[in-house]
Structures are given as structure tokens and as C-alpha cells.
């Protein structure tokens, strides 16, 4: 897939892969599937991947997107890696709380605190 087609911005810094979303709304099932495949290929390309997903500028997130995040988390754990989430809008954070997914994911206010939480 060419970068122009991607729904993600991916950067690598000091052993951490930072993933950001192009879209404000993560609702379209085809896009969500594409996002899942892109992130899965990043995970598969690394040993013990350390992944930070930033939700800055994301306004809406569907349950299908939550499902993809869970699949990503399961995949990272299988590879002995770590996943952090950051920059989540307060209303979306409430969705994580209602679904109790705040117990499953490591959620941080911003990228620096998320990066600092990775264990070596």
C-alpha cells in the first residue's frame, strides 16, 4: 500500500513506533479493516514491538474500531510487545470506561507520558 492510500501516519523514534490517524472519524468498516492490517504488518515486522497509538484529533470511534484495537493488543502481547494509547478526547475516553476497556489498555494523557511508561 502506498503512503498516499494509508489512513495512518507512522513514525519510528528510539524503539517506539508512533501511529497517528489521518481521519477525525474512525467509523468506516473498510477503513478500520485497512487500519488493522497496516498496524498488524508493523507488529509482524518487529520483535517485541513497542507501539504508541495517538488519538489526537479523533472525534468519533466505533465499536468496530475498539474491536480492532483489541485484536492489535492481543497480537502485540503474543509477540511480547507493549501497546500504549494516548491523546484520547474525554468523550472517547468515556467510551473506554463504559466498555471497561480502560482496564485492558494502558491509556495515557499524552505521548511523552506514554513513551515514559514503556518498560525495557
Amino acid at each position: 500500500m502506498s503512503p498516499a492510500d494509508s489512513r495512518l501516519r507512522v513514525t519510528h523514534d528510539d524503539g517506539v513506533t508512533l501511529v497517528e490517524f489521518v481521519d477525525r472519524n474512525i467509523l468506516d468498516e473498510a477503513n478500520i479493516q485497512q487500519i488493522g492490517e497496516e498496524i498488524s504488518s508493523i507488529i509482524d515486522s518487529r520483535d517485541q514491538p513497542r507501539l504508541l497509538i495517538s488519538f489526537a484529533n479523533v472525534d468519533h470511534l466505533s465499536s468496530a474500531a475498539l474491536g480492532t484495537l483489541i485484536t492489535i493488543n492481543n497480537r502485540i502481547k503474543t509477540k511480547g510487545g507493549q501497546l500504549r494509547l494516548a491523546n484520547i478526547d474525554p468523550q472517547i475516553k468515556e467510551v473506554f470506561a463504559i466498555t471497561r476497556l480502560n482496564k485492558l489498555f494502558s491509556i495515557h494523557d499524552d505521548a511523552p507520558s506514554a513513551i515514559a511508561s514503556f518498560t525495557s
Binding site: A30, A64, G67, T68, I70, T71, T99
Partner: protein, 145 residues
Amino acid sequence: MQPSPGPDHESLRATVTADRSAVAGLVSRIMDIVERFNYPKTSRFAIHLALEEAVSNAFRHGHKLLPPDAAVTVEAHVDARRVRIAVEDQGPGFTPDTIPDPTLDENLAKPDGRGLMLIRAYMTRVDFNPRGNRLEMTYERPPSP
């Protein structure tokens, strides 16, 4: 001169197929009506989320075995006090009580099954017809702070 008051309610009934731009357009039309009735941001977030989940469920589960051009019907009725939305698919229906609770510890790492619980969490009332292919949900405007 005082501006003339708007209508005391607005209704919409539309059919939509499994086409993302068509679904987004319909959701946008309904949310424009909700905005015209000055529902606050938190209410609009709740209604938008429930509407997206209901339409998504209709296609993903209700129309699982139907062709993509099978239409889902969406009805919306908005007034100053509440927003009522109905989503009806052409599928065989389902029994809502059989959906496992996704918030239980043993279900947390399972990727599916959160759409309906989110609809129930954000809407004031959620009902299904006996066949289980029509969801009716109501959002009551919260009291002003």
C-alpha cells in the same frame, strides 16, 4: 422584529444501502436536525455514536446474508425534549438478550459485541420489535445545569 420560531419538531425517514458515503450522509442529515434543536455537545456525541452503531449493526449482523443493495430504513423524530430514532433491517432478526456482556472480565479481550451495549449506555431507552430486526431508541435531553 423577532425571528420566527422554527418548527416544534422535525422528522425524517430514509432508506440507505451498505455504502459508507450514503450512510455518512444520512447520519449527517440527522445530526444537523439534532443540532438545530440546540442539543449540547455531549448529547450530540451520544446520539451520533448510537446512530452509527445501530446502522452498522443492521448491515454487519442483520444483512450478513443479504446483498449489499438491501436497504436499511432509518427514521428520526427530533423535538426540544427528545430524539427518537428507529433502525430497521431486512434480516431475520435476533434476540438481544443472547448477546454476552462484553464488560465481564472473561469477555474484555474479545473484539466483538460492544455496539449494542454502547447504544444502551448512551440512550435513555432502547427497544426491539419481537422479530428483533427493528431497534427503537430514545434520547431524552438532560436537564439544563
